[in-house]
Amino acid sequence: MSERTVYLDYAATTPVAPKVAELMTRLLTSGSDFANPSAVHPAGRRAQALVATAAGQLADLLNCDPQQLIWTSGATESNNLAIIGAARYRQKRGRHLVSMPSEHKAVRDVLRALERDGFELTWLAPDESGRLNPESLKNALREDTQLVSIMAVNNETGVVQDIEQLGQLCRDADVLFHVDAAQAVGKLPLDLAAMPVDLLSLTAHKFYGPKGIGALYINERPGCHIEPLFFGGGQQRRRRPGTLPVPMIAALGCAAELAKGRIPADLKHLESLRDQLWQGIRNLDGLRLNGDPEHSFPGILNVSVDDVEGESLLLAMEPVCVATGSACNSQDREPSMVLRSMGRSDAAAQSAIRFSYGRQTRSADIEFAVGHYIQAVERLRALAPGQAA
């Protein structure tokens, strides 16, 4: 019998919703829905209809046109395609790009790759709560700026940026605005018809869909285009060729439809869990919240404590499954770049723990985690020699 685990790492990935899993299983095993959706025969047309349905479901969640969506393998690919594709498309106009050091590595490293290719980067630091001051962005925009990339919800802290205001600044300056919305789609209401967003990355596995499928939204207003990164087929209007994985796409669509109907209830549930968690740990000596209580996604709570080492804390908390830094980065024990950019010390960043919870998390799970967290902190503090005078 397996040991009880309490999974509080929903920001890393969510379980697949049962209805989504049922649909995938049916499509993978039906024997009649396996065709290549590019084929024009009846089986191909059936597969294409499934893809069109999914595009409609996702477009409905985002309030955009299904034609504005490109299927990818996930947010990392979407970020690469959006940033490199747009930068290359517009490079004759200028080669200046703007972003933040608190972005996910899947954005930071893409931009650094472009920097090596001769693009110029401006990195805008967040304030100590993790938010970007719009005035900083306004001051950073130049005649040759072509692209700004800012994430909607930070994957480590849950801090929500003011996408509308930041996007409007870009729109006013005729600069493309890319949003990594991997932690926002399906969790927070997004209305792309009303938002000044040009490119938006998402992935299914952050909102109860399967891993390996994502999408990129492209506004397609004048000047908003991307050059493809892949070549070899005419699919998706040559912007992202390759045979479409129909069961995965259908699953993403199903997850999007489920999310649309559940966002208010999910948020209420998450707020209740966050409040319980915060009340449970807030009185611990030396505890500090990493984030902005006024502008945060309630499904993530990131805290640091004085004089505790993060890796040991993570192990001491088992069987509670939480993260230090981002899960994608969990083998890299360097202090979190996100927290460092918010002005946290190496020690504070090292001790940071990200709790993230979701639909299946119950109050008893939070109670269990609170107990394990406090116990682990106290144990490790007792193990440590005092700070040198």
Partner: protein, 116 residues
């Protein structure tokens, strides 16, 4: 140690049962604060034999497990053997990954310093 588990069963066992964590009154002690870790060792002697060892450590699970393993292994041995303490062989026996060498070398320095 499974492919995804960064900790060997020995490291997990020692980290979970830190029986030698703490301080000793009297005897010798040493404290080092480098490489992003802090370690303090205490030792009492019965003649030339190590009577008791204790440690305090701030660092990763590997450092804590290695400190615990050292204390368990060296109690009752001649104090002269502390000079032969070798981080590499301890790392090998506990399955500590090579990227943690710097931290375990701090323990080695502390142990050798305790012996002098």
């Amino acid at each position: 140690m499974s492919e995804n588990d960064p900790y060997s069963s020995a490291v997990r066992r020692l980290f979970a049962d830190t029986a030698h964590a703490g301080r000793l009154a009297g005897g010798r002690s040493v404290r080092l604060d480098r490489q992003g870790v802090r370690i303090a060792l205490w030792m009492t002697l019965d003649g030339t034999r190590i009577e008791a060892l204790r440690y305090q450590a701030w660092g990763c699970p590997h450092l804590i497990a290695a400190s615990e393993a050292f204390c368990r292994d060296y109690e009752g041995r001649p104090v002269s053997e502390l000079g032969g303490f070798n981080a590499q062989s301890l790392m090998q026996s506990l399955g500590i990954p090579v990227e943690k060498t710097g931290r375990i070398l701090v323990l080695e320095d502390a142990v050798r310093s305790l012996g002098t």
